[in-house]
Assembly symmetry: C2
Homo-oligomer: 463 residues x 2
């Protein structure tokens, strides 16, 4: 069935033509003049289209006057310049076809104000609200901007495995994946016999596609992943999900400076893209969710990035005179409060902190010549602190082997990873961005559970 | 470090300028004239760049003459018109910097011909081969084409959950996801106590994002998923993976005819896109993998799609006089041999079979007025048979409830799904395409394990 998107109709200047639209009723208001105003939304944009339905319509009493929020209709009528103030065009309905009515008594979205907590319980209906419609479009826009950015720079989109035996960080808490009968596990020497499992060994859900992405970067140059990753951490915070999407570019023939440049360009591209392409939705977020949002994003489109060493960062924090909840000294990881001080107070611009102590970073990061630090970087933004973490990877086979041993990892598990350094090793670097954190940052949404369609958190897996 | 992509250099007409490229040595050949030819590939395209390294280079004996396939180098030199026949331009090296040598004795890719089976065992190195480089670029191109197609038509990219409790088909064999200690499972009444598990209940890996995608289509119009899905089936065939990527569009205000049109347009778009954008790689596939590939894809770019009912299809098959391995009669599912007969022999063009018997299709497909068939469709292509399966969804709350009961599903599990029909129901339709099957189809690759970076199959989960 042919229909025009409301987003296109609202931008149309071709008046007095017949249009057909379809969507869901946001509100209906009956005028004493013998007609009804219907605000119609079809998801194509934030704004509604106003429809004038006259009582001369055959189904005016039978259908139109029974329309409530949530009802699905198709309207054919004449597009005219609007008489009222709120919109430029409206449709004078010649036909209103109702696909499905929506009884107000049972409909959970009837109530004017519903808390985000309550909406999480009806995650199958919340995309019908203004907020979650806007989030869906923003999330889509950030996805498109991500692919557009990397494709334009010659990166290949890579699908790294979801089920894996490799634990990227050597530390992440992984979900197990199994087909063994949980009520009747096969045992050998009192232990579960994974040789009987689907893959013949213990398997889990990936915490990162980085190591596998490196195999492709070390063959084809530039690649990026954009896929789901998992953490089986019992973290019930507004910033943690058990299932979330990550963007992980990996570049061959690149060092940490190239990595920092790529991260800056990517972030600036995302901010510019959503400001240019999500007008109505961004205005809504700025009005209802975070009134400093647009100002912040606009300032970040071309603000310079300060690059400092971890050592200098600690120095600044120690000398700041600030009282932090967590003390700072060389060798400890920076906390969010420290990161925010650096970007919000010390530099008042995004900050990239590089060269962290080796002890607090992963084994695969390239050891610097000082032997105390590694070529790691964190990108810090105001309001949130770290948004991106990355590194140049250790490309020297002997150093890598030493680091694996020092990290008490099983060398046999990383034979294939070391092979990339044995055979035509190249300097390479990459980073990871938690996609939901970026949607949060661009929308101002407080809780990360409200920027992914069906959030998975400890004890919560509805739908 | 700045470098140009070899793909750009090869297309350059600006001669006698200095260029810097970096990549991996494919071959080195020493001339008696006191110089070496190096074929360099950086993954940016199928073709190699020829580099002339003269013995006047300071590291000619120390480095250049020790270059073997797989070595990683950076070359700076002058771009000149090539004297030889095989290429239009070449680089006269002023500097050859070696990042990493590659010792021929240990390198598994030294041997001229390595079987695809052997390459699967070294999946971390196989992207360095011609075939897997081409597959990576084709896979990337098909991903870009997929996003481009749906975005241009106003579909939003949607991330449906990976870990889920819902089993879309009511039949798929699911992987379990758990954090319970497998050597010490909590029990209640002799059964595993999932209330102690991460999500507080039994959870698994999704077999399809369709049901969740419907919730967004029924709120915002048009959406599509493009994400990993899973089958814990013990299928060791050249067409099955335990982990694969699916593309699942879902449209509101759409019926089966709209669905068929979308499927046709999508397929034609994909074929056109790879023919227009993957020239060097497609030529390689056509030469080395399947010599009928290009001809087939070119014919499919604008071939008409025959749409017939299942009932008519069975009629054609019964009357065909062909001997099939599986007998055909009304009520049985079509096998690959039947599908291929229809598209290759009977119609000699893609075929969409619609209106299948309700007994052999899923509960959510819209019941036709005859009450015997449902509004399902399969899209059949020559060589493979079914490439897409889709349906109009049951949008009548009472009929859906009846179908759930008839299918012996637990109504409580589908309360949220039925809600979409209770509140402003709309006709809607969608389909699913197995992404790896499409990569197979566009490359001619025989085994599906060779079109995904790290295949997961029964007993196989390396890397």
């Amino acid at each position: 069935m042919k229909r025009e998107f409301i987003g296109d109709v609202l931008g149309s200047t071709d008046m007095d033509r017949e249009v057909t639209v379809a969507g869901w009723v946001k509100t209906r208001r009956d005028s004493k003049g013998g007609f009804s105003f219907i605000e119609l939304n079809d998801g194509s944009c934030f704004a509604n289209l106003q429809v004038i339905a006259d009582n001369t319509l055959a189904n005016y009493a039978g259908d139109v006057q029974k329309l409530f929020p949530g009802a699905a209709v198709r309207v054919t009528g004449k597009l005219v310049a609007s008489q009222g103030g709120g919109q430029s065009v409206e449709v004078q309905a010649a036909e209103v076809h109702v696909f499905g009515h929506c009884e107000p008594d049972d409909y959970p979205l009837q109530k004017k104000r519903i808390s985000f907590e309550r909406l999480r319980e009806i995650a199958h209906l919340r995309p019908r609200t203004n907020t979650f419609g806007a989030i869906t479009r923003l999330r889509n826009a950030l996805s498109v901007a991500t692919h557009g950015f990397f494709q334009a720079r010659g990166f290949y989109y890579l699908h790294t495995p979801i089920i894996t035996t490799s634990d990227c960080e050597g530390a992440g808490e992984m979900f197990a994946v199994t087909t063994l009968d949980q009520d009747n596990l096969p045992k050998v020497d009192g232990k579960t016999d994974y040789s009987k499992d689907f893959f013949g060994k213990k398997a889990g859900l990936t915490v990162s596609g980085q190591l596998e992405a490196e195999t492709y970067a070390c063959a084809l140059g530039n690649v990026y992943t954009f896929g789901p990753t998992f953490r089986a951490e019992n973290s019930n915070t507004r910033r943690h999900l058990a299932e979330f999407w990550m963007v992980e570019p990996e570049m061959a023939f690149a060092d940490l400076a190239d990595d920092a440049e790529l991260a800056r360009d990517y972030l600036q591209h995302l901010f510019r893209y959503v400001l240019d392409n999500c007008g109505g939705d961004m205005d809504f977020f700025n009005k209802r969710i975070d009134t400093t949002l647009l100002e912040r994003l606009e300032s970040l489109v071309d603000s310079p990035y300060e690059i400092i060493s971890y050592t200098d960062a600690v120095d600044i924090l120690v000398k700041s005179g600030e009282t932090f909840d967590y003390p700072v000294e060389w060798g400890t990881d920076l906390q969010s409060e420290h990161e925010r001080y650096l970007t919000e107070q010390a530099f008042k611009t995004p900050v990239i902190v590089r060269d962290y102590p080796r002890e607090i970073k992963a084994f695969y990061m390239r050891l610097n010549d000082d032997e105390r630090t590694v070529a790691a970087m964190d990108v810090l933004l105001p309001q949130v602190g770290e948004i991106i973490g990355g590194s140049q990877r250790e490309d020297r086979a002997d150093v890598l082997r030493r680091r694996i041993a020092e990290s008490h990892l099983e060398p046999d598990d990383y034979g294939w990873y070391c092979d990339l350094r044995r055979f035509g090793s190249v300097p390479h670097a990459g980073f990871g961005l938690g996609f939901e954190r970026m949607v949060q940052f661009c929308s101002g949404m407080h809780n990360i559970r409200d920027v992914i369609p069906f959030p998975r958190t400890p004890g919560s897996i509805a739908f």
